[in-house]
């Protein structure tokens, strides 16, 4: 659903596109070069898009709410794609340099759209886990769970004199508890981790007596908790790391565009 604060930007974006399209057509009819109009507009848009990253560093001064900047960033990003097509007149340009520039531009756009979608979808999924974990704390939380599981396994062995649970831990469960697992499934909303815990993870249960089952159920409960933390890890990790693609690619596009602009001004005009 479109948030109310985005609507004025959408209207402004549509108006800008219509105006630039009309003006570039007028310039074309007057035997001018319409690509100059669309090219400069696109360049200004890219600079404005890049300013969003600068705004994040300027939180100490009142330069407008970040949410307004994001709404503008999203609309300007979509407008930039439309402007790019208007500028090139095709989906794929012909020159090698322009092809590199176009490829980077498409990558920035794709990562941007991808980022927008995951940022809308994943927070809800995290809330539904019922727990909240700070990303930087996740390794420590997983370590604590692993320690508890190992302590339970040892205690079970000492109390019952049977090493069935310990063997199952070494052979199977250790793989699960060692590090975050089933990341892709967590991101797409699957339950591969739960499925694994109920299947291979619980395979040893039929060989346990009641006392061992008590310990084993506690271990599985910790497994369920780990599944929730894994989900946080997978989703939070993706929500942070997509920017590692989007931001450097954006900078590359702006730098290549500057060079493109210089070449056009020196040789084409």
């Amino acid at each position: 659903m479109i948030r109310p604060m985005t609507l004025p930007f959408i209207v402004l974006g549509l108006a800008t596109f219509a105006l630039v399209a009309w003006y570039s057509r007028v310039v074309g009819m007057q035997l001018g070069n319409p690509a100059i109009v669309t090219g400069y507009t696109l360049f200004v848009l890219m600079i404005l898009l890049g300013l969003f990253n600068m705004r994040k560093r300027l939180s100490m001064v009142p330069v407008g709410r970040s949410s307004l900047w994001l709404a503008f960033h999203v609309v300007a990003g979509v407008l930039a794609i439309a402007m790019f097509w208007l500028h090139t007149g095709a989906l794929w340009p012909t020159g090698l340099y322009e092809q590199v520039l176009a490829a980077l531009f498409y990558l920035v756009s794709i990562t941007g759209i991808f980022g927008y979608l995951i940022l809308r979808a994943l927070p809800r999924r995290l809330t539904q886990t019922g727990i909240e974990v700070i990303y930087e704390r996740i390794p420590a939380e997983l370590g604590e769970i692993r320690d508890k599981v190992e302590a339970l396994t040892l205690e079970c062995t000492e109390k019952t004199g049977s090493d069935t649970v310990a063997q199952h831990y070494i052979g199977t469960l250790n793989w699960f508890f060692r590090r975050p697992r089933f990341g892709f499934s967590h991101i797409v909303g699957g339950d591969a981790a739960g499925h694994w815990l109920r299947g291979p993870g619980s395979a040893a249960r039929r060989y346990l007596n009641d006392v061992e089952k008590g310990y084993f159920d506690q271990i599985l409960e910790l497994g369920t908790l780990k599944t929730q933390i894994d989900r946080h890890y997978a989703c939070q990790d993706l929500m942070k790391k997509w920017l590692l693609l989007h931001v450097p690619l954006s900078i590359s596009v702006i730098l290549l565009s500057v060079w493109h602009l210089l070449l056009v001004n020196v040789y084409a005009l």
């Binding site: 560093r57 300027l58 100490m60 940022l119 942070k240």
Partner: protein, 549 residues
């Protein structure tokens, strides 16, 4: 281990039997009827355990206007001055003087913030007007030029035998005046528990305290209520003469609450019980109370009441309007959430002065009982967690929050590189109340600060800490029921931890969210959230049933 008793922790460690003996010889104490005190709480025990003798040097500030305190003072010798008008400047009181940064000054934080957190310019502490060291019992802010203060401000003298601070201590309301020692003075400081016993068991003290309240504050409180706002002076006086004062719960409820949070159990003092006969309207003067109704095998919270709200009006009005109805009982129960100060206005007074001229109440709390339980689960949770105390809670919508920590970075960038909150806290459904100062309506953190470093900003009403006069005693951090105040070791500009030359231990300062006091544009955390997930809210805004009476 033996069960801790009422006087396991005396107020003054240094009080001796000799001190008690000499106190009992003072005329104002000797006038107290010691025989009226029960065996388990004798007068000598109250003096021994609930009072302490405090000495002030000339210029020492004893209480500051606007501070919260849990004790009253009896002047034993020396003289003090009450500042009447104009008020003392904030800096003389040891408070932070708010000054909003300009755009470029705020921007300069981008490069002036140190790479290591909590760096302080030590030279700022040199002219701090503090004496008594870091011991919370002895640290004082003092006025350096008493004659100049006396010249420029109208003051009144307090001498041997004068009692002050009792209304703020019992009513949990801010102190109404600043008092300082004109010359070296010795005071008997009585903590609220002792004051409560003196008021309870000695007719003279009760009459004196109640009389002072009736004279100084009661009529103003009554007039704030819609019920009494239309009364003429004579009727208002008649009502004021009949009002009864009651307190419920513990003054230091934060301690019990923290224990209750850990153990998951605890009982709230019942003020009025469902089904009982209401003998008057209960007006909340300070604190919070829960309105509940029996539901299944438990109690369902319908709403909560804060200062200015009243309870039982609907039932009494209805009984007055329909005298034929035989059975008149309370539809709901009222219990204390922590400490509650109540004014009980007897029914006959209302029938004579209020009901004949009053519009019938349009809604009652029972209207809420008709809604599904799930509808008010949020409010039930907020009451249980005592978030109803919040005036600026940091609430994060977890379905919008992308966990990017832009809010944390924004906070750090406006606070010298160290954030003043943790993006972590209690959650309900999709809401998280983060560990950020909530700028409480009932700020228990402000009780007991020896230098008044933690105080309400005069300009904005936020609770802020003056770093210069904070002595790092951690009284506020230990009192905060929500663990929202952090003690940090401070560093010099080379990044080295500053240590006390005598003990060699690091010097700590209390830090917390100051709602970006002095920063242009309001709280940086809110402005920095790209998804509008973070809001600072008064909890009443999240409670649609709040308006019901």
């Amino acid at each position: 281990m033996a069960r801790p008793q009422r006087w396991s922790t005396p107020f003054g460690e240094e009080m001796t039997d000799g001190d008690v003996e000499s106190l009992l010889k003072r005329p104002d104490i000797a006038a107290i009827e010691a025989d009226n005190f029960p065996k388990h709480t004798p007068l000598s025990g109250v003096l021994r355990n609930d009072t302490r003798i405090v000495r002030y040097r000339s210029g020492d500030i004893v209480v500051r206007e606007g501070d919260y305190g849990n004790s009253a003072f009896l002047v034993m010798n020396g003289s003090l001055r009450v500042v009447l008008a104009p008020e003392l400047p904030q800096n003389l009181l040891g408070r932070q003087v708010a000054r909003e940064k300009g755009f470029f000054e705020a921007l300069a934080q981008l490069w002036t913030n140190s790479r290591v957190p909590e760096v302080r310019d030590i030279s700022r502490y040199e002219s701090q007007g503090l004496r008594g060291g870091v011991d919370s019992a002895n640290a004082r802010v003092f006025l350096q030029d008493v004659p100049a203060v006396l010249d420029e401000h109208r003051t009144a003298k307090l001498e041997d035998g004068a009692l002050f601070g009792e209304l703020a201590a019992l009513g949990r309301v801010p102190r109404t005046a600043t008092i300082f020692a004109e010359e070296d003075a010795t005071l008997l400081e009585i903590r609220w528990q002792g004051l409560r016993e003196l008021r309870k068991y000695d007719e003279g003290w009760r009459r004196m305290i109640d009389q002072r309240y009736r004279e100084n504050a009661l009529k103003a409180h009554l007039q704030e209520s819609v019920m009494f706002s239309r009364l003429d002076e004579e009727s208002l006086q008649a009502v004021a003469d009949k009002v009864l004062f009651e307190t419920y719960g513990s003054f230091d409820w934060n301690v019990a609450f923290q224990r209750q949070r850990q153990s998951g159990s605890g009982k709230e003092p019942i003020i009025a019980r469902q089904g009982e006969y209401p003998d008057g309207v209960l007006m909340i003067r300070a604190g919070f109370a829960r309105v509940s109704v029996k539901h299944g095998n438990g109690e369902r919270t319908l709403t909560y009441l804060g200062a200015g709200n009243s309870f039982g009006l609907g039932e009494l009005y209805s009984a007055w309007k329909n005298p034929d109805i035989q059975e008149m009982a309370l539809h709901t129960s009222l219990s204390a959430l922590g400490y509650v100060d109540i004014l009980r206005v007897p029914a006959p007074v209302l029938e004579e002065h209020v009901f004949p001229f009053m519009e019938p109440p349009t809604s009652t709390t029972m209207d809420i009982a008709g809604t599904p339980v799930a509808d008010d689960a949020l409010m039930e949770w907020a009451v249980e967690e005592r978030f109803v105390n919040a005036t600026r809670a940091m609430v994060i919508d977890l379905e919008r929050c992308v966990r990017c920590d832009d809010c944390v970075r924004a906070c750090a960038s406006t606070h010298g590189g160290n954030p003043r909150f943790r993006r972590h806290g209690r959650t309900f459904d999709n809401m998280m109340v983060a560990n950020a100062c909530m700028h409480c309506a009932d700020p228990v953190c402000m009780i007991g600060c020896p230098t008044g470093a933690i105080h309400r900003s005069v300009e904005h009403g936020t609770v802020i800490i003056n770093d210069i006069t904070c002595i790092g005693c951690a009284t506020c951090a230990n009192s905060c029921p929500y663990s929202n105040i952090a003690m940090v070791a401070i560093r010099n500009q080379d990044g080295e931890t500053i240590t006390d030359p005598d003990s060699g231990k690091p010097i700590f300062k209390a830090t917390k969210c100051d709602f970006c006091e002095g920063q242009p544009g309001g709280p940086a955390c809110v402005r920095a959230c790209p998804h509008d997930a973070l809001k600072r809210v008064h909890f009443q805004e999240l409670n649609p049933s709040e308006t019901a009476q």
